[in-house]
């Protein structure tokens, strides 16, 4: 986090030695975010006040400038004046170059480590079979389905499908008649809970497991012309859309598809999906 210097803090600069102030100016170039113009001006003003800028040998300074700074492309040259003689300066310049090179190397190593770690995690996760690329909702005025986003892993771990059942259902469905259907067609299997409330309300909760991402894209939900909207629940992207008098919410978790559809409001569907929790 960059530290902001306020005008009141400038007064503290007076307490620093001239050498310290010069060091601050010299070290400026190594900073990611350089000193502010105001801050530098304040240091220069203090140095001027102390007479450190008086009596400067302008001729030798110009000579030094040509000898040190006016180099082709300025490659490898310091941009800051050094207090000591030229030979010593060369040595210090090398130190500065080494410091800058070390800082650059440290950053490069850090970046490489981060990239390697990220790829390592991706490969490990892929090796474990988790779908790290996922699916994205795709809809028209008439249907909704999931499309593969990027590359989808062929398999992920085999979760127990009942883990995806909600622990909350709206009032009226708590004691509703429930018809449970198990589907197993090899390439996709699932469990479907059909609730029928006493007041005639209905709710279908469906958890499907696909053997491949390709089959997940074959599922079609019927919807009306109102665009689907996205809701995030427990790290999952849940798509919600209406189908005339019914509302549907659906999401993918790896190769498992969870959906709930019925005479529920979107708020109730959100609460229902929130109750599923993380698997």
């Amino acid at each position: 986090m960059s530290q902001e210097i306020t005008p009141s803090e400038y007064s503290n600069l007076n307490n620093l030695s001239t050498q310290a102030l010069n060091d601050i100016l010299s070290a400026d170039f190594e900073r990611v975010n350089g000193l502010s113009a105001e801050y530098v001006a304040e240091i220069l003003a203090i140095l001027e006040k102390r007479g450190e800028l008086d009596g400067v040998d302008t001729e030798s300074a110009l000579e030094r400038f040509h000898a040190v700074y006016v180099q082709p492309e300025g490659a490898g040259q310091s941009l800051y004046a050094e207090p000591a003689a030229t030979a010593e300066k060369g040595e210090k310049g090398d130190d500065k170059k080494k410091t800058a090179a070390r800082a650059l190397l440290r950053r490069a190593v850090l970046a490489a480590a981060v990239i390697a770690a990220a790829f390592g995690v991706m490969l490990t996760v892929q090796a474990a079979g988790y779908d790290i690329f996922g699916f994205i909702g795709s809809w028209t005025n008439e249907t909704f389905s999931f499309a593969i986003q990027g590359e989808a892993a062929a398999q992920d771990s085999e979760p127990e499908l009942t883990q995806y059942l909600p622990t909350w259902v709206p009032e009226g469905f708590e004691n509703a008649e429930v018809e449970i259907t198990e589907v197993d067609l090899d390439d996709f299997r699932g469990v479907i809970y059909s609730y029928t409330a006493l007041d005639g309300g209905h709710l279908i909760v469906q958890v499907m497991r696909y053997s491949s991402a390709e089959y997940a894209t074959d599922t079609v939900y019927f919807k009306d012309e109102v665009p689907a909207k996205l809701y995030e629940s427990n790290g999952r992207d849940v798509y919600m859309f209406s189908n005339l008098e019914n509302n549907t919410a659906a999401c993918m978790d790896g190769l498992t598809e969870i959906s709930a559809s019925g005479s529920l409001t979107f708020e109730q569907l959100e609460k229902l999906f929130d109750s599923i929790g993380e698997i």
Binding site: E142, T143, V183, D187, I204, V220, F222, L244, S261
Partner: protein
Amino acid sequence: MRRIMLMFVLTVSIFIGCVPIASADYEADVQPYSSERLSSAIVTAIKGSDNGEIDFKYLVVANSTMATLGISKIAIYTSAGVCVASISGTTSNGLLTTSASTHSGTYTYNGASGTSYYAVVTMYARDSSGAETQQVTTKAVTAP
């Protein structure tokens, strides 16, 4: 200059002439998918285990319990668009069921090995207030 103007007028005329045709085609093909009775469906074509076999697997989910639910017709086409079979759904052949909110199954078609097939599947749902159908077209799959 006159030639450019003529080309411009011709291009605009062709474009304007095509718009009504395109709209007419679009309207003819549009199916009102929003459904009063059906919630979702999976219909997929998969290579069968034996030579020439294609499995059409389906799952139809209704919004509530239907008096009749399932597949009322499977029309099978070659990838060239030639209809090679049409199967009507009945409760006897298992494509339709009664008093259910879901129905699933597999229909196996015996075709020619190496030929690519797809199906236009008509889903059917009927309750006390009426009936409706929806169509889904599968991907084409080459028979083993």
